[in-house]
């Protein structure tokens, strides 16, 4: 097995103002230890590259730079603010005979641009969720405030990035929806309405069950990044803190839980507030709700994020940040929401178990597939057994995941319905289907199958799970 180097992320943001000196342009640079001159050089290179590509296309400048040893990704999230991420190419040392030093070979093909480009964009979205836009910060408190915010956020956030486990799902940035019957869905809907009516301070609500979304009142783009935060940061930290870390082993009983589509269980018995007054009973404990900023294009709203949990259900209440949320408010919320949510959660659980029983016990999902719908951001993967920021357990070889990435790149080239079937060297078959705004990737481990048989298998999958969605033969 070739040894792969752990990639490092270096992020530099710069505000290209012609009057500023070179050094002043750098708003954030990681790792901090790097010499200033070196930083300036690197930033200068990025500027030169972007400028150069404008010669050929003024409106769409550079997105990435490939060199032998590393790859750099560029992103301009707001006008004249640039983000750059540098990722090292994995290296393989090939031993040489005659006592010569081993030759180093850089494996550039292992890095797929679309994946890491998306990761960089997500970095910005996550920053924006908790800090608002760069421009706002600059307007409010000048460069100093902006620098402060960037440092505070990215220093921590970069440590949570585990670039080696990034794959196609990062390109999608989708949301996993919990499948529900109509009755239960309506119950949830009316619960949300009731709470919003009785507590007029609540502006938006989102309802999740076991890592999956059921209902959200937020704009899609905002919910997308909030979902990522909840499922990769808040929930893991709370329920199974050792799994939120980087190199933690899995507990055996947890592994059992994971097998069922890898849905993480929130039901560790601890209910109540996940943000804010985690321990409501202690009257002296101070608390603070995290603040998020949404709708940055239009109304630019800053909100308190209240996350309340009962068994496996979690509800997010978002309240205008100008309101001061007192202990009384929290107790009121606790009293109102607690019992109703607990009831609802057990209802859902019951429905869920009924469904499971009727569809038969599944030790392991029959088909390995990934599905994504660009319109509602719905994603579903039976390949990932666990996906957080730091860990990604997939049940297929990473090379196959990269083949999926390649097919996704092919799909992105044209806006037509397409189907790509591929047979890998290991005799695995990979099928990619794109129809309207939906993409489906299936991996089949049927070495002796031929094209027709593979086609039939996929048809069967589509008939059971994706009725009437994919039409191409």
């Amino acid at each position: 097995m070739p040894e792969s180097m752990i990639k490092e992320g270096i992020l530099a943001t710069d505000h290209t103002n012609a009057d500023d000196q070179e050094e002043k342009k750098i708003l954030f640079y990681h790792p901090i230890e790097i010499e200033t001159n070196e930083k300036i050089r690197n930033v200068g290179l990025c500027e030169a590259i972007v400028q150069f590509t404008r010669t050929f296309c003024p409106s769409k400048p550079a997105k990435s730079l490939h060199t032998q040893k590393n790859r750099q990704f560029f992103h301009e999230p707001e006008e004249s603010y640039w983000m750059v991420m540098v990722v090292r190419n994995p290296m393989v040392e090939k031993p040489n005979k005659d006592g010569k030093p081993p030759t180093v070979e850089y494996q550039e093909e292992e890095i797929i641009d679309s994946v890491y480009g998306s990761v960089l964009q997500q970095c910005y979205s996550m920053y924006k969720l908790f800090n608002g836009t760069f421009n706002r910060a600059f307007e409010a408190g000048g460069v100093e405030l902006l620098i402060q915010k960037l440092e505070k956020f990215f220093y921590r956030y970069l440590q949570t990035l585990h670039l080696q486990s990034c794959d196609l799902l990062d390109v999608f940035g989708g949301i996993s929806f919990f499948p529900l019957d109509k009755m239960t869905y309506l119950k949830i809907q009316s619960f949300v309405n009731r709470v919003e009516e009785s507590m007029s301070l609540v502006k938006y609500t989102a309802f999740l069950y076991n890592d999956q979304l059921i209902w959200s009142g937020l704009e899609q783009e905002d919910m997308r990044i909030l979902y990522k935060y909840l499922t990769t940061s808040l929930f893991p930290r709370h329920t199974e803190p050792e799994l939120a870390g980087r190199d933690s082993p899995l507990r055996p009983e947890v592994a059992g839980n994971l097998l069922h589509y890898g849905r993480q269980r929130l039901d560790d018995g601890r209910d109540g507030f996940l943000t804010g007054p985690v321990n409501l009973k202690d009257p002296d404990a101070k608390f603070r709700f995290p603040r998020i900023i949404v709708n940055t294009e239009e109304s630019y709203e800053e909100l308190h994020l209240i996350v309340y949990k009962a068994m496996s259900a979690a509800v997010c209440f978002m309240v205008n940040a100008t309101v001061d949320l007192s202990r009384e408010f929290c107790e009121q919320l606790d009293g109102l929401v607690g019992p109703q949510l607990t009831l609802l959660a057990s209802d859902i659980c019951e429905q869920y178990n009924i469904n499971r029983r009727s569809s038969g016990p599944e030790k392991e999902p029959q088909f390995k597939f990934i599905y994504f719908n660009h319109m509602n951001l719905a994603e579903k993967s039976t390949i990932h057994m666990r996906k957080t920021a730091s860990v990604s357990l997939t049940s297929v070889h990473p090379d196959l995941m990269k083949i999926l990435g390649d097919i996704n790149c092919d799909f992105a080239r044209i806006d037509e319905d397409e189907e790509i079937i591929v047979k890998a060297m290991t005799d695995y078959w990979v099928v990619g289907k794109k129809s309207d705004q939906r993409e489906l990737y299936v991996i089949l481990n049927q070495k002796n199958a031929n094209l027709i048989e593979v086609n039939e298998e996929v048809k069967r999958l589509c008939a059971t799970q994706f009725n009437n969605i994919f039409f191409l033969d």
């Binding site: 769409k60 060199t67 032998q68 092919d410 790509i420 094209l451």
Partner: protein, 479 residues
């Protein structure tokens, strides 16, 4: 029909390669204009000192500042012990290649992958070497870093233009193989013998080309043992001849270096057309600059033999075959490259493909189809995750790429095809190719009759032994 007979069915060349066509650049094009920016593929060649040498579109002098920036990027990255390789934007890919004192840059919207674009730049570099030799280039820049190489390349822009255009629409570059003129083995043998007998002391290679397809090739035995003639060299040779002498009656004598064979020395090429319509071309390569008359003498012998045996007949009468000849409904076009079929095949990789169908007659459509093939090629031959088969159905067409130990094949079907019919058509196609094999490919490379008769070549490095021949159906069950 008549017209195509006169000019030869140059399927992969536009009608007038040297004058009005989409690919030929207007050297005075305004480099700040939108139309310049929107060209599909720019290629720039500059020296390490940042001096412009060539630009496909526009005047390279007007681009000297842009080229200066390119050189700056290259050296900046080099300064930190790294090598710049490429830059990606939404639409463009910029690829860098440094060979010795020359830097080549491609700016392309063709969606080809980096390796392919770099391969094309390498061809451009080799074409320059074919005109100057690598040794000279290196020496010149060693003495004078600021040397303006255009002084030596004056008038050769059209050779590079023609190469770039050919690379866009000719599959031979992508496959690194030669497409031969389909001929009955008996006829080909006759022609081989004619060439074989016309020898001279310094004659090393003899080629007979008809309608831009290789008909016959004869080599000098000892030369063969030194190194194989690679398809890349042949492409450069043919391109050079085509760009400098297409449809010109009379004899041409010009130096040419074959970079992959020997990048430091010149061969001297004697080029003459054997028919009044200039479709049948004879090329004799000699190692001696003074051997013109000896070569002309060989040509005369060949001409006489041609007249005696009425050889021109079979060359001017043969046509490209069409997909329809194979009697298949949905298949529009294909490329087939055998790998281990003949022993001698390793000496000269070849491929075959039919005439372009009606749907792909314009240059633009051809390039589109080639782009699709190139994309398949990239994916299937990817170094770290190569594939065995790709089946891609889209609204415009259905494409298939298939690599086995015996061959690689790329096919384009109409989008109406079902998987079942695609497979049965492929079966039919493979059977047809097998039947026609001896006609479609050059099976033996002859040696000059002044040397040993032995057909064996002892110095070729043997690849791993052939696998036992699978029957067609056996092979297709894998599909």
């Amino acid at each position: 029909m008549e017209r195509s007979k006169i000019r030869g069915s140059s399927e992969f060349l536009s009608e007038d390669p040297l004058t009005e066509s989409a690919g030929v650049s207007d050297r005075n094009e305004d480099v700040t204009s939108e139309s310049w920016r929107s060209h599909r593929k720019h290629v720039f060649v500059l020296s390490e000192a940042g001096k412009p040498i060539y630009s496909r579109y526009g005047n390279e002098e007007a681009l000297s500042s842009t080229m200066g920036v390119m050189m700056a990027l290259v050296s900046f990255v080099q300064a930190s012990g790294n090598t710049i390789q490429s830059i990606f934007t939404d639409d463009h890919t910029v690829v860098f290649l440094q060979k010795g004192p020359l830097v080549l840059v491609s700016v392309s919207t063709s969606r080809q992958n980096e390796q392919q674009l770099r391969g094309e730049l390498l061809h451009v570099y080799h074409q320059i070497v074919s005109m100057l030799t690598q040794g000279s280039i290196n020496r010149i820049f060693e003495h004078r870093k600021n040397y303006d190489l255009r002084r030596l390349l004056f008038g050769s822009e059209k050779v590079l233009d023609s190469l770039l255009e050919a690379m866009d629409s000719d599959p031979s570059y992508m496959l690194s193989a030669i497409q031969c003129f389909p001929l009955q083995p008996s006829s080909r043998e006759v022609l081989d013998q004619i060439l074989q007998k016309a020898v001279a002391p310094t004659l090393v290679f003899s080629f007979l080309i008809a309608n831009n397809r290789l008909v016959s090739i004869v080599q000098e035995k000892t030369v063969l043992e030194d190194g194989r003639l690679k398809p890349s060299d042949l492409h450069l040779l043919f391109n050079l001849i085509r760009a400098s002498s297409a449809f010109q009656a009379g004899e041409i004598w010009m130096p040419i270096c074959l970079p992959l064979f020997n990048y430091n020395c010149y061969f001297y090429a004697y080029v003459a057309y054997l028919d009044p319509e200039c479709t049948v071309c004879l090329v004799l390569l000699s190692t001696d600059r003074e051997a013109f008359y000896a070569m002309a003498d060989c040509k005369r012998k060949i001409e006489e033999a041609f007249v005696t045996l009425n050889a021109l007949e079979c060359l001017t009468n043969s046509q490209e075959y069409k997909v329809e000849d194979v009697v298949i409904t949905n298949l529009r076009h294909f490329l087939y490259k055998p790998s281990n079929v003949f022993d001698h095949h390793r000496l000269l990789p070849q491929f075959t493909c039919p005439e372009m169908p009606v749907a792909y007659r314009t240059q633009e459509e051809r390039i589109c189809l080639m782009d699709e093939y190139r994309n398949l090629y990239n994916r299937i031959h990817r170094i770290t995750r190569p594939l065995k088969l790709i089946y891609h159905s889209a609204e415009g067409e259905t494409l298939l790429a298939w690599v086995t130990s015996k061959f690689e094949m790329y096919a384009c079907f109409s989008s109406l095809v079902t998987k079942k019919s695609a497979i049965s058509e492929l079966t039919k196609l493979l059977r047809w190719i097998r039947k026609e094999e001896s006609r479609l490919f050059i099976c033996h490379i002859q040696k000059h009759s002044s040397t040993n008769q032995s057909g064996k070549n002892s110095s070729t490095d043997r690849e791993r032994s052939n696998q036992p021949n699978a029957s067609e159906t056996g092979l297709l069950s894998l599909l």
